[in-house]
Symmetry: C2
Subunit: 93 residues, 2 copies
């Protein structure tokens, strides 16, 4: 999962409205499609972001697709690779 | 989101392999479709369950659909309703 595609927002540990704003900025810059990506515990926050945009800010936005997957990442403590779930939510307007 | 449909497994706080086993039991009982449901922080665990089944146990299983949504639930501390993200992962074989 690439973290830095154009039209993508990668969900990390910042306040959730930062990511909502990042998506809104992409839409308002002319993008018709925005991809919200997250790994591990941030997956539920990716859905939060998509739902906040769709229900509160861009009411004609729809969820075009949701992709789930697994990535092998080095764990934070010891560097032993562990499987981490990923999500990509594609919003269109 | 109903928690107790037939062919559905609702993800809670038990060890993750319990839910993997529950899904496997449904498939082995003749279901061609199993729906894995979760809310809030358990959302990433629902994806873990789907990915473990698909990659380790039932290699011909595919993700037919992923639905995301929002539910208004009373919060645990004070009973004030809060929005919670939900996911439904539909696996078929």
């Amino acid at each position: 999962m690439a973290e830095d595609d154009a039209n993508s927002v990668f969900i990390g540990r910042k306040p959730i409205m930062n990511y909502v704003l990042a998506c809104m900025t992409l839409f308002q810059g002319g993008s018709s499609e925005v991809c919200i990506k997250a790994r591990g515990m941030a997956v539920s926050r990716a859905i939060d972001v998509a739902e906040i945009i769709r229900r509160r800010f861009i009411l004609d936005a729809t969820v075009k697709d949701v992709k789930i997957g697994t990535e092998l990442l080095p764990s934070r403590e010891r560097g032993i690779p562990t499987n981490v779930s990923t999500i990509e939510v594609i919003l269109t307007r």
